[in-house]
């Protein structure tokens, strides 16, 4: 299953919020695991999204050492990213409950 447009940035932000600074591979793994294998992320989807979030100032990037001593680029949430996450989460809940209300079968009186 492909990632729905607009949802990826929310997933990335949540991942970084929960796990702290993380490299691209780690983010991809986490998203795939959380979706229980329903989502697959390839490079072409993930990395442009990371660049975009960086340009928007929601995440920052820094080269560092990985757990098994590899050089990797670590992304972490910025202050603006945190408030963006809160905003997007709220919006998502609202949209979801709205859509759910439409989709729930209800008998008309």
């Amino acid at each position: 299953m492909e990632v729905k447009p607009g949802t990826l940035s929310l997933m990335i932000l949540t991942t970084l919020d929960v796990l702290g600074p993380l490299h691209g591979y780690g983010i991809a793994r986490r998203i795939e695991e959380t979706s229980r294998g329903r989502l697959t992320l390839n490079y072409g989807t993930l990395y442009p999204a990371l660049v975009k979030l960086e340009q928007e100032g929601f995440i920052s990037a820094e080269w560092g050492q990985s757990e098994n001593n590899r050089r990797a680029k670590y992304y972490s949430l910025t202050k603006a990213g945190r408030s963006e996450l809160a905003r997007e989460t709220r919006e998502w809940h609202e949209t979801a409950s709205l859509i759910a209300a439409f989709l729930t079968p209800r008998r008309e009186a």
Partner: protein, 865 residues
């Protein structure tokens, strides 16, 4: 805010792209390694682990590309790439690039230059405050102080009335080289009326008009620079004018000129307030309309006022019937409009032809590049992408052509300024400015869009396969190119027809018999004070006697107004013994004052009776000579000799007897029929200002200095002005037409050259494309001549269609030029035959030259290829 931040980040990303690329590759590589390690941990063999990781991650290259696009601004980078590619492609084909850029530069440059002139002269508001309310009062007439005062006091339609009296010649002394300056005397409110501010110092006001006020002067920018070295300290100092000190109070800005281009300084006009003369006016009336008043309303009021003045002051019954108020803009620019509009229309056609020509060149090129474009398409370039590439190429050409065009326009503007008739109003305002440059820019963009879109559209329409097959029988863009040749020829014909019409006009003007001979005549205007009539008469006699004795002078005379001088005084005619019935308007005549052998100087023949001579002195019976036009008007079928005539200010209340009839002279212009004129002797009707005219044995202008010396040796205080030959005076009256002829001729030539290039190109192309077919025909027995005919048809046929269309269009040319044509009908048979015939001959030649190649083809060689 967020958008701006992203945009900035992306622009910055373009610069750091190379570094960023390594960065991305490293990041992706580390991702891959981590995924591989994970797979190994799960028990895969290392090679298999990496393969699986790659599969899961997707294409590395595409990802890097996607990140790169996200980082920078891909469309801008593409455009930059296109531009680089375009420049490279054009440099491979410098002949083509030079042709396109050259044609564009000429088209844009010529148009921007002509626009610069038209804008400065016709379009921009006059450089005075609230210029739309300024009017010329009674432009046909020089007003007397009495009339100006009357208008100031009574005309409610006119908020303020001022006077402007040009052409006062004054000696400037106390400088290295004493000089005669051309001054305008103006009322004290003149500058305020116009809202004109000085560049330096101040202007003068009403106080300067008062009797006994200190004499002051405001200088023209050019005079200040050339004569006084742009010395700012000059303001506040005095200069010597006519031997007396005059305080310089200010300098006007460079672009300030009013009504003429000759005025070098402005002085207060202290008119003789007691002068009651209603005819001896010396000043032009200029006024500001009251708010909301139109010139038409002001005209009505002016006529009502002059009607009252007739009764109050007992002036003649004809006084003021022709009085009118004309918008200053109209009065100043009305005469120049037809000339500039004709030139503007012509230069617009040149631009159209240039655009068509460039489009044609681009089509040829697109045809030559079919294979290249097809390969690009086959490799995955979309049609839009190829169209964009072609458009970028056009844009590069347009930008270079436009830039060169602007340089040409700057040079062309200077050239035009020199070529324009010297009387062209607002000449001083013509300068390179932002409006002209903006116009050139808009032209560049418009023209580029026009010619640039054509090849892109054509390229986008073709199929890859057809193009790759390189099928020579499928000629590239042939219909489009044929149509373009037709358009070019049609436009060139329109220009050529215009040029021929102007040529016939100027020829007709040269053939006009003006009623006088203008060659070898030197003229100049003298102003004499007239305060003692006896002395004044003696003065004019002495001037003529002394000049007649000067070596190189054949014969001398004086006249009130020279032909073509633009000046003419008129009066109503009364004939003794022929009272006019009540309510009938008397006929009007121009009147002249002549002295010496004026008729011999200008070569006007005596038809009947005798000339005025020594017999017609001050105390002798009053006499006059009339011209043929007058005799026909006033005495049709009768003998005018010995009849007695009165004519307003020419004669006063005395009856003058007609003693002779002379030939008529075209006084107003070469194009206007000769007006009726009467001539009285300077002995019997003294005037202060006269032109001296003398027939010389050689070049008249070489005598100017000795003549001036003679005149000043009689009286050094006499101002001399308008030193010129009669030929120059006549030439000035045709200057506007010759200017239009010159430009139309030049533009027509450019158009024809471009048209020839177009036809040549089409035929040469046809020969190339149909080589095999021609070879086959010749192998089957067709003659070389037939082959030439076949390909020539390609050029001539479509030129012929253009000639028919252009011929029809040129029927309308006469209407655009209507105000300028003379002696030739707007729809002129000769023009309609000669211009197309000439163009057809040129077109045939242009087709024949490349077509000859077809005759030289060797069928054997061609077919073997």
């Amino acid at each position: 805010m967020r958008r701006i931040r992203i945009a900035l980040a992306r622009v910055a990303g373009m610069y750091t792209r190379d570094r960023g690329a390594d960065d991305v590759r490293e990041e992706l590589e580390s991702h891959l390694e981590m995924a591989t390690a994970e797979n190994v941990r799960r028990g895969m063999a290392p090679a298999e682990a990496r393969r699986q990781a790659l599969l899961a991650a997707g294409g590395m290259m595409q990802a890097a590309e996607a990140v790169r696009d996200r980082r920078g601004l891909p469309w801008l980078e593409n455009a930059a790439g296109d531009a680089r590619y375009a420049v490279r492609a054009l440099r491979r084909n410098p002949g083509f690039a030079a042709a396109v850029v050259g044609v564009l530069a000429v088209g844009i440059g010529a148009n921007a230059a002509v626009f610069g002139v038209t804008d400065a002269v016709l379009l921009r508001p006059l450089p005075f405050s609230q210029a739309e309310r300024l009017v010329h009062v009674w432009p046909e007439r020089f007003l007397a102080q009495r009339e100006v005062t009357l208008l100031r006091e009574r005309a409610r339609a006119l908020e303020e009335v001022g006077s402007y009296s040009p052409g006062w010649l004054m000696s400037l002394t106390g400088v290295d080289e004493p000089e005669q300056l051309n001054a305008a005397r103006v009322s004290g409110n003149f500058f305020e009326l116009l809202g004109a501010r000085p560049a330096l110092g101040r202007v003068f006001g009403m106080a300067a008009e008062a009797p006994g006020a200190e004499p002051v002067a405001v200088l023209d920018w050019r005079l200040w620079r050339t004569k006084f070295g742009a010395d700012t300290a000059l303001v506040g100092r005095t200069i010597q004018l006519e031997g007396g000190p005059v305080l310089v109070v200010g300098v006007m800005p460079r672009e300030f000129q009013f009504m003429d281009n000759a005025t070098q300084l402005w002085l207060p006009l202290a008119m003789d307030r007691e002068a009651m003369s209603w005819a001896g006016g010396i000043t032009q009336g200029v006024a500001r309309l009251a708010p909301g008043v139109t010139p038409a309303t002001a005209t009505q009021e002016l006529r009502a006022l002059t009607e009252r003045a007739r009764a109050e002051y007992g002036v003649g019954a004809e006084y003021g019937r022709d009085a009118d108020v004309v918008a200053l803009r109209e009065s100043l620019l009305g005469g120049t409009r037809p000339m500039l509009i004709a030139v503007l229309a012509a230069v617009g056609l040149v631009l159209l032809i240039a655009t068509v020509n460039v489009a044609n060149l681009l089509l040829v090129r697109a045809t030559d590049r079919r294979v290249e474009l097809a390969v690009r398409a086959a490799l995955g370039a979309t049609r839009g992408r190829i169209a964009r590439q072609l458009l970028t190429e056009s844009l590069v050409l347009g930008v270079v052509g436009g830039a060169l065009g602007i340089l040409l326009a700057v040079a062309g503007l200077a050239l035009l300024r020199g070529l324009l008739p010297p009387e062209t109003p607002r000449l001083a305002e013509i300068a390179v400015d932002g409006r002209m440059l903006a116009f050139a820019l808009v032209l560049t963009i418009g023209v580029t869009a026009l010619f640039g879109s054509l090849p892109s559209l054509a390229a986008a329409r073709q199929s890859i396969v057809g193009r790759l097959r390189q099928d020579r029988s499928v000629a590239g863009h042939r219909p489009a190119r044929r149509a373009l040749v037709t358009v070019e020829v049609a436009l060139a014909l329109v220009l050529l027809a215009g040029a021929v019409l102007m040529l016939r006009t100027v020829q007709a003007l040269n053939d006009v018999d003006p009623g006088f001979r203008s060659d070898r005549v030197l003229t100049m205007r003298l102003q004499q004070s007239m305060s003692e009539p006896d002395a004044a008469r003696a003065y004019w006699r002495e001037v003529m006697d002394r000049l007649a004795a000067l070596p190189g002078v054949e014969v001398v005379g004086t006249v009130l107004h020279l032909p073509m001088s633009g000046r003419k005084w008129q009066a109503p005619v009364e004939v003794d013994g022929r009272p006019l019935p009540a309510g009938v308007e008397p006929p009007r005549t121009a009147w002249q004052v002549v002295g010496g052998d004026y008729f011999d100087v200008i070569g006007t023949p005596l038809l009947r009776g005798r000339r005025l001579d020594g017999r017609d002195h001050f105390e002798a019976p009053r006499t006059m000579v009339v011209n043929e036009a007058f005799a026909r008007l006033v005495f049709p079928g009768e003998d005018p000799l010995a009849r007695r005539v009165r004519a307003g200010n020419a004669t006063g209340t005395e009856w003058f007897t007609i003693v002779g009839v002379v030939g008529s002279v075209r006084h107003d212009s070469l194009t206007a029929p000769p007006p009726p004129e009467i001539y009285v002797s300077i002995e019997q009707r003294l005037v202060g200002s006269n032109s001296v005219a003398m027939r010389t044995t050689g070049d008249p202008l070489t005598l100017a200095a000795p003549v001036r010396d003679v005149i000043w040796s009689i009286d050094a205080d006499i101002p001399i002005s308008q030193v010129q030959s009669l030929d120059q005076l006549v030439a000035r009256s045709t200057a506007a037409r010759r200017f239009v002829l010159m430009l139309l001729g030049a533009f027509a030539l450019i158009a024809i050259v471009l048209g020839v290039v177009g036809i040549w190109g089409v035929v040469a192309f046809t020969v190339r494309q149909r080589t095999r077919e021609l070879g086959l025909r010749m192998a089957l027995g067709s003659s070389p001549a037939a082959a030439v005919r076949l390909v020539m048809t390609e050029g001539v046929l479509f030129a012929l269609v253009g000639i028919v269309i252009g011929g029809l269009a040129s029927l309308a040319v006469g209407r655009v030029l209507a105000g300028l044509l003379w002696g030739v009908a707007p729809v002129d048979a000769t023009t309609l035959v000669a211009a197309p015939a000439a163009l057809l001959a040129v077109a045939s030649l242009a087709a024949w030259l490349p077509a000859r190649r077809a005759a030289r083809l060797d069928p054997a060689t061609v077919l073997r290829e």
